[in-house]
């Protein structure tokens, strides 16, 4: 049971982080379907830091540098979305999808190249290992494995709430997602606000990415990307009605179902049901479909999301 709690919390943290990232972007008026790709690239940045950092580095630096590596990669990657969708008015769905496919392909090509070079051609896998570096992210309380990303998620949640609802910046950004022309008429730069929204989503998406590959495993095969987790986060965001507090609650629910697929064997009641493991793997996706079907009717989505900003329009 403790294991279930542990996995629920860590997966919820990941979902919260990524969904909050999507939340910033969508409130500024840009649909970020590329979150999945941002997660992969962010995870790649962090994993490479962990892989190459000297073992003697103090733990706190390992954590900080890993986060920094992830964020640097993720923000740079998110900029690809921003430049296409904001400045060149590209279709946000196409570009987001392209970034998802590109993320996995790029990470695979790079990791394979690095592995081949380091092993002299013997290792052609797309797997990065970070067994020792991972220890810096976890602490044990009894048998409960506490993960620092749980704290980071809570901080991100509080920050998101304050920024979006209590600061001038956040309120202005949300205005750009509701009615950009009206926002522009009072002197707000819609382009700047949308760029900020997308780049912030890059920050949270990439932290979520590195958190995801650190949840429970100590190596990652980049060929698999992040298995649709970015899209689960988008479902969490929609279920959470684009509001930080509700997003956190939605993330807990989805995190629980995701955790079940990892730990159901350890729970006698579930193990006795004899359901094949694939069914548990499908759970989060089925649940999110059901939840979306029930909650999307009265969508509270930002009104101008997905529409490129055209100053001449009213």
């Amino acid at each position: 049971m403790l294991l279930l709690l542990q996995y629920t919390l860590i997966f919820s943290s990941v979902l919260t982080l990524v969904a909050l990232g999507g939340c910033y972007s969508e409130h500024s008026g840009v649909i970020n379907l590329g979150l999945e790709g941002i997660m992969v690239i962010g995870a790649l940045g962090g994993a490479l830091v962990m892989r190459f950092i000297p073992a003697s580095t103090p733990g706190i630096f390992v954590v900080l540098l890993t986060l920094l590596g992830a964020v640097a990669f993720g923000v740079a990657y998110a900029a690809l979305l921003a430049v296409a969708c904001i400045n060149y008015k590209a279709d946000q769905t196409i570009v987001g999808t392209a970034l998802n496919i590109l993320g996995t392909a790029l990470a695979t090509v790079l990791v394979k190249a690095i592995n081949m070079k380091l092993s002299g051609g013997d290792d052609v896998s797309s797997t990065v290992q970070y067994v020792s570096a991972k220890q810096n992210f976890v602490a044990y309380i009894g048998s409960f494995q506490f993960n620092w990303f749980m704290v980071i998620a809570i901080i991100a949640l509080v920050v998101a709430y304050v920024v979006l609802y209590k600061t001038r910046f956040g309120l202005r950004m949300m205005a750009c997602g509701e009615h950009p022309q009206a926002a522009a008429s009072v002197g707000i730069s819609v382009y700047k606000m949308r760029w900020s929204g997308v780049l912030i989503s890059g920050v949270f998406g990439s932290i979520g990415g590195i958190a995801y590959i650190l949840a429970g495993v100590s190596e990652w095969k980049f060929e698999n990307g992040v298995a649709g987790f970015g899209f689960l986060a988008l479902a969490v965001m929609i279920f959470g009605q684009w509001k930080p507090t509700k997003i956190a609650l939605a993330a807990l629910l989805f995190g629980l179902f995701r955790a079940l697929s990892n730990v159901y064997i350890g729970i006698d009641f579930l193990a006795n049901l004899n359901i094949p493991s694939t069914v548990y793997n499908m759970f989060p996706y089925i649940i999110s479909l059901l939840v979306l079907a029930l909650t999307s009717k009265n969508s509270k989505a930002p009104k101008a999301e997905g529409i490129p900003y055209d100053p001449g329009q009213r």
């Binding site: 196409i94 999808t97 590109l102 392909a105 695979t108 070079k117 298995a227």
Partner: protein, 403 residues
């Protein structure tokens, strides 16, 4: 201006030509960026690797082997074309069918299972795949039409559900010692797509089947349906403006569901087209959704969202994807071609901007032509020059020239 010149210019200014030019720019830039990534990984082999990707079957020197491998590329072009038609068809109605990847998987699953478990003939396997794929696609449509669920997100969820279900179902017909399904040729020869002598054209490549001509026929049929029938017009109208379509008495919700059902059927047919040739076997431990459906997105946009253009773009995407197998494996990985097609999709996002720039260039060029004409012409030309800034389009240019 002489008459032939005018004709030529109107061709260069046509939308079709601009789409073609934009696609070629995307391809060239995509290959260039791919090349830069290769240079970054290992400068010495980069030129050879990108050459190997572009050459694909031409990497072989013997003509028979070239033909045989061209056949292999075509075998995989047919399903890709079906996936890209699925994406294209839905996009024309304003729906982004990213679920094509999952519908393709479902089609593969049904056709393989129907062949191995029930021993059905090939045409029945194909029909079943189309039927189930249609239903699978319709789920996305129902969720969109009645529950307002974004089709991209539900499509992705169904991709994963489809993948896991397929793994589960096909475990029943796999080889006992490996994770692959049984060979159709050995266990269900009646289910293998007939090749009707096509194999002979490709140096006896027995995998070349009727799937390839069928896929091309379907592409042309989609073109006709979209452009020449009332049904296609209604669907497109729904895509342009669903409120206007509703006002005009079109059943908007039904149209959404029908569109995604057709999209699902097309992609699933693609899955059957590949796996019923026995060219590939399904691996029941597959842990990622196959890239075929996603490459279909690349092909659809690269083809300028025109079903006939898609035939060529699908071939191109499959050509470089197959070409990835020929890069020097000691230096690079074959995923370099996935990388290039992903970059191409990204660049396709800029097609609108490119076309706008081309129109502007054409307009300013036309304006310059008129100005040049007027400089030499009689005062009568000045009347035409007044009209010029208002509209620099082709018809005005001709008037200016005549004046």
């Amino acid at each position: 201006m002489s008459d032939p010149m005018k004709k030529k210019e109107s061709f260069f200014q046509s939308d079709g030509f601009q789409s073609l030019l934009a696609s070629l720019i995307c391809i060239l830039l995509g290959l260039l960026i791919g090349f830069i990534v290769l240079l970054f990984i290992n400068p010495s082999g980069a030129a050879g690797a990108i050459g190997a990707v572009i050459k694909n079957f031409l990497n072989y020197s013997r003509a028979a082997l070239q033909l045989k491998n061209l056949g292999n590329t075509l075998v995989k072009t047919a399903p890709l074309l079906m996936c890209s038609l699925s994406v294209l068809f839905c996009y024309k109605v304003g729906l982004f069918n990213i679920g094509a990847a999952g519908q393709y998987v479902v089609g593969a699953c049904i056709s393989i299972y129907a062949a191995l478990a029930w021993g059905l003939p090939w045409w029945l396997c194909l029909l079943l795949a189309i039927l189930v794929g249609g239903i699978y696609g319709a789920i996305v449509g129902v969720l969109k039409a009645y529950c307002n669920v974004n089709e991209v997100i539900s499509g992705i969820m169904l991709n994963w559900i489809g993948l896991y279900t397929t793994n589960m179902i096909l475990t029943g017909v796999k080889e006992s010692t490996s994770p692959y399904t049984l060979h159709l040729r050995d266990y269900a020869p009646q289910s293998v797509l007939p090749n009707m002598g096509l194999a002979g054209l490709f140096a006896g490549n027995e995998y070349v089947s009727i799937a390839i001509p069928l896929a091309i026929i379907i592409a042309v049929a989609i073109k006709v349906i979209l452009d020449k029938t009332r049904f296609g017009y209604e669907l497109k109208a729904t895509g342009y403006n669903k409120n206007a379509a509703k006002y005009a008495g079109m059943a908007e919700q039904r149209n959404i569901i029908v569109t995604l059902a057709i999209g699902g059927a097309l992609a699933a047919c693609g899955g059957a087209f590949l796996y019923l040739t026995d060219y590939e076997l399904w691996e029941v431990t597959t842990s990622a959704v196959p890239g075929m459906g996603f490459n279909g997105i690349a092909a659809a946009f690269l083809g300028g969202l025109n079903p006939v253009g898609t035939i060529f773009s699908s071939y191109f995407i499959q050509h470089i994807t197959s070409g990835g197998a020929y890069v020097d494996k000691n230096l690079y990985s074959s995923q370099i071609s996935d990388l290039i097609s992903a970059i191409i999709i990204y660049l396709c996002g800029f097609v609108g901007f490119m076309k706008l720039t081309m129109k502007k260039l054409n307009a300013s060029k036309a304006a310059q032509d008129i100005a040049a004409n007027n400089a030499n012409a009689e005062p009568a030309g000045q009347d035409a020059s007044k009209e010029k800034p208002a509209d620099g389009s082709e018809s005005k240019t001709e008037e200016g020239g005549k004046a």
